[in-house]
Subunit: 201 residues, 2 copies
């Protein structure tokens, strides 16, 4: 199983390079458990969900802490048949092939245990489950989980909005990726997380 | 059939509001053929691909013309079973159920006829085809089309990089959405387009 994300950080300030460079320090505690490659559009993080999501969360929270309007975008994937297995991705996060309701319950419990970072995150995500005839059932299951997660904001066309403390928000997204779709299936998330938007002030 | 995109424009400058506001004028020629709704994270464009992609292209090109480092992100979708039909989306873009090779040939011809805007675009996209047992065959077909499109840059984990004139780049993405996956299928694209990145200078 291969898992990871292409992530980008967009600080809406003339000092965007400075904000990005400073925020990268937040990845230091995770570097030995991730493979990281950067180009001019995005940074690839390869690793298991239990490392990937806290790393993205801390990167986001650090950049948001500057007070600038900052957006993190991530193209997150697990189980793509076109990607080779990688030992760094080894995980038990995808659990057992449990009934949908049991997976929702476990996902809700995991979000309830998320740390509190005192840094707000407003996010929207689209979950894609490939190669399964019942992909909409898994997506509706995930949407029901999101609605009960405590972070639900509203449904939009093509995506779902969530918001709240960064700890709960990133835990919710991690559970969306890990708990829905087949354990060995190809599941992806298109994620946008926004901080300090002047449109919210 | 329902189609559209959630789009966001990220100008990496202190005057990001000014850049966004000015660029929105580029949507004016398309407004009567699109439904447009904005919140603090993204702007929804609902309409057929032949309107949607030129509108995104012109919005991007206008913002890129400021010289600022600007990124456009779009969550693009057609045929989501959870979305209601909308007459504004009516189109013949998804063509007939032709063999994969014929669809590639037609897509390449469409890209060759794209207008030249003299504005560079560097992009990466992930194509997702849902609910079909052969989704990877369609994705590999699309990747082969991208490689022969004249805009191909390189394969990355989770996505494909393309680049070139904005006209060809957005025509390539339009063909990726319309020509691969079943005509009535649920197909989505996670798209990032970047202009004037200091990492490229």
């Amino acid at each position: 199983m291969f898992s990871g994300a292409q992530i980008s950080l967009y600080p809406m300030t003339g000092d965007f390079v400075g904000v990005i460079t400073a925020a990268l320090a937040a990845l230091d505690p995770y570097r030995d458990r991730l493979r990281i490659e950067t180009d001019d559009i995005s940074t690839l993080l390869v690793g298991p969900p239990e490392v990937l999501f806290p790393a993205m969360r801390d990167l986001y929270a650090h950049a948001a802490g500057t007070g600038a309007h900052v957006v993190l975008h991530a193209t997150i994937s697990r189980g793509c048949p076109g990607e080779p297995d990688d030992p760094i991705c080894e995980t038990s996060s995808y659990g057992i092939r449990a009934p949908l309701e049991d997976r929702k319950t476990a996902a809700l419990a995991a979000v309830a245990e998320a740390p509190v970072l005192d840094r707000r995150a407003d996010a929207q995500l689209s979950l894609y489950v490939m190669g399964a005839g019942d992909h909409m059932e898994e997506i509706y299951g995930c949407i029901d989980f999101l609605k009960r997660s405590g972070t639900f904001d509203r449904s939009k066309n093509f995506c779902t909005r969530i918001g709240g403390d960064s700890g709960a928000v990133f835990a919710t997204i991690q559970q969306a990726l890990c708990s829905f779709g087949p354990p060995n299936g190809h599941v992806t998330i298109d994620l946008t997380v926004s901080a300090n938007s002047p449109s919210r002030r």
